[in-house]
């Protein structure tokens, strides 16, 4: 067992960058006042200025105006706010139909299901074998009753990046609002509100070495959105609750620290991992699109073996990765994403996701591939599946 643990689950959470913590610290100990107390005392003014400044930085990173960026507690809240906020605003006025893709992450899927229980109709769009939605199918699904299309920018498990410019254009043409969950792309893949016709965008700090508990929702000027978190009048009266200023400062700093070189290095490590695994380990399938893919995502199914056993063996060797196996999930169901791209049970149960981050190195990528090769070969020896190939001599 190796001493150092190697974390390769950066789509789930990331290690905080020290520089982010350093930027946040003064807002715990010095400027801890409430931003809405700006008319009462100096600390409140400082808090307000800080909040405005960080909002400006994050909006700028998205090519947006400051008043279009609303802070939230993270992507789950942002996506809930987008779907339920639009449903509340337009459900009675325009219609009760929403379109999402089958492979959305749970905040979008479960918000859609919650709205279904409230009498909304939801269309769950199919995706192709790479995970891409079909623009013609989208076009055909939009009716006079449709109020919102919510399709992710990139997939949480298989990393496939959707053509959100194309999807946005269809939505514009049909006069329907478009929300995209950009939790996994913000900072890693170009995303500019001036270029892409999208009305609502979910972003979060936890995927880019920022703190947990802070995210945002981009709300294009004029987008009908009803407030559903009631209390105070914060965030342009769209989201009540005490502003998380240290979190906001950390979020802005995390975005600032990402460089094109870093994304290039992640892509190189990703490509290296994928090509080595597919070449060196037989009976493997890459899940997700080969090119239209997050720069830090690797997702591969290992046939004849089950994912939880793979992750546990890797963990014993010091590597943290994730799987789409039913055994691993709290619902005991295999990955809905792998089923969505046409995969069978075996492909879902044998899928392993490796997501890279700032603190990973090429040596670690090589080490995890070496270990994977050993683990897969051992597990195949004891599996009743694929025996003619891998079974021990009887």
């Amino acid at each position: 067992m190796q001493e150092k643990r190697v974390y390769l689950d950066n789509a789930a959470s990331t290690r905080l960058d020290e520089r982010v913590l350093e930027a946040m610290t003064p807002y715990f100990f010095d400027t801890y006042a409430v931003a809405t107390s700006e008319f009462a005392y100096t600390q409140g003014i400082e808090a307000r200025e800080t909040l405005d400044e960080t909002r400006g930085k994050l909006a700028k990173a998205l090519g947006a105006e400051p008043e279009e960026f609303v802070f939230t507690s993270g992507s789950t809240e942002s996506s809930n706010m987008a779907l339920k906020g639009v449903a509340l605003a337009l459900g009675k006025k325009k219609g009760k139909h929403i379109i999402v893709s089958k492979i959305e992450d749970f905040p979008v899927l479960q918000s859609a299901e919650a709205l279904e229980r409230e009498g909304f109709q939801v269309t769950y769009l199919d995706v192709d074998g790479d995970g891409l939605v079909n623009l013609d199918q989208l076009k055909e699904s939009i009716t006079d009753e449709t109020i919102l299309v919510s399709i992710q920018h990139a997939n949480q498990e298989i990393g496939t990046i959707q053509d959100i410019a194309g999807i946005g254009a269809v939505c514009r043409e049909k006069g329907v609002l478009f929300h995209t969950d950009a939790t996994h792309t913000f900072g890693r893949v170009p995303l500019n509100m001036k270029k892409i016709p999208v009305d609502l965008v979910t972003v979060s700090a936890h995927t880019i070495h920022g703190p947990k508990g802070i995210g945002g929702l981009y709300v294009r000027k004029g987008t009908p959105l009803t407030k559903w978190m009631d209390g105070g009048f914060q965030e342009f009266d769209l989201r009540a609750g005490l502003e998380n200023i240290p979190g906001a400062v950390g979020f802005a700093k995390a975005v600032e620290l990402i460089t094109p070189e870093e994304n290039k290095l992640l892509r190189a490590m990703r490509n290296h991992a994928i090509s080595r695994i597919l070449k060196e380990i037989p009976d493997t399938t890459l899940n997700g699109h080969r090119r239209k893919r997050l720069p830090h995502n690797v997702n591969i199914s290992f046939h004849f073996v089950e994912g939880e056993s793979i992750t546990l063996h890797l963990d014993i060797h010091g590597f943290a990765v994730s799987t789409g196996s039913a055994c691993f999930s709290r619902s005991l169901q295999g990955s809905h994403v792998i089923y969505g791209i046409g995969g069978d049970h075996e492909r879902a149960h044998g899928s392993i996701r490796i997501t890279l981050g700032r603190y990973n190195t090429m040596e670690e990528v090589d080490a995890v591939v070496d270990t994977l090769a050993e683990v897969i070969s051992e597990l195949r020896k004891i599996s009743p599946l694929g025996k003619e190939k891998y079974g021990e001599e009887v």
């Binding site: 299901e113 089950e306 196996s325 619902s331 169901q333 295999g334 004891i382 009743p384 025996k387 079974g391």
Partner: protein, 211 residues
């Protein structure tokens, strides 16, 4: 490191005992399917005079608790008579492993079934089993005792989730006291199908959840 598994489970997972296939086994079985994410194959060699298990091996496609239970039941069954081995329970296997997480009960119960099925396979081949009995509500209930309620780590019958069982012209209807959008509804339905469908005179299995 703190895993949800005991040291013994991890030891059997890392170094499973009696792994592999027996050439020309006297009895063999394959339980589970890729659908539920777990499969176990069990092979036995039986001493013809004493009817004891002389050798036993297993293969597993599954998670750690599946592999570890497969390993421990081969240890528990070796040397026992068929009648003794049939009586090995999930509880005994779980205790021998120092306990298993509740939510993993359904993966590990498979190995116990694998052992029983391998013995049944031997008995069938050697004319030790009487003619096929028609399925009754009791047969169904007995099989449902092998479907785990992941909330409790105990079976559906014991946790009072089975509201009703109906049998008509080969169609089995099972009413389960859980809402259909419950976290485990789909997993439970799959497991019920898997346990009831193989009964020789069952044509269709319908699982009703509450609204």
């Amino acid at each position: 490191m703190k895993f949800p598994y005991s040291e013994t489970v991890l030891e059997h997972f890392r170094h499973p005992h009696n792994v592999g296939e027996i050439e020309n086994p006297d009895g063999k079985s394959m339980e589970g399917s890729p659908a539920c994410g777990d499969m176990v194959a069990v092979y036995i060699k039986v001493a013809p005079d004493k009817k004891t298990i002389e050798d036993i091996k297993f293969e597993s496609y599954g998670c750690a608790s599946n592999i570890a239970t497969g390993s421990i039941i081969t240890e528990l069954a070796k040397g026992k008579t068929l009648d003794e081995a049939k009586k090995i329970t999930w509880k005994e296997a779980s205790d021998a492993l120092g306990g298993l997480p509740k939510i993993k009960a359904h993966c590990s119960v498979l190995a116990i079934e694998g052992l029983r099925s391998a013995i049944q396979n031997y008995e069938e081949k050697h004319g030790l089993i009487k003619k096929r009995e028609p399925t009754t509500v009791e047969t169904v209930r007995k099989r449902l005792r092998k479907v785990m309620n992941p909330l409790a780590g105990l079976d559906l019958v014991r946790t009072n989730l089975v509201k009703d069982i109906e049998l008509k012209d080969g169609t089995v209807r099972v009413a389960i006291d859980l809402p259909k959008n419950h976290q485990f509804a789909a997993a439970i339905k799959e497991e019920i199908d898997e346990k009831i469908e193989p009964l020789w005179d069952v044509k269709e299995v319908i699982v009703d959840f509450t609204e």
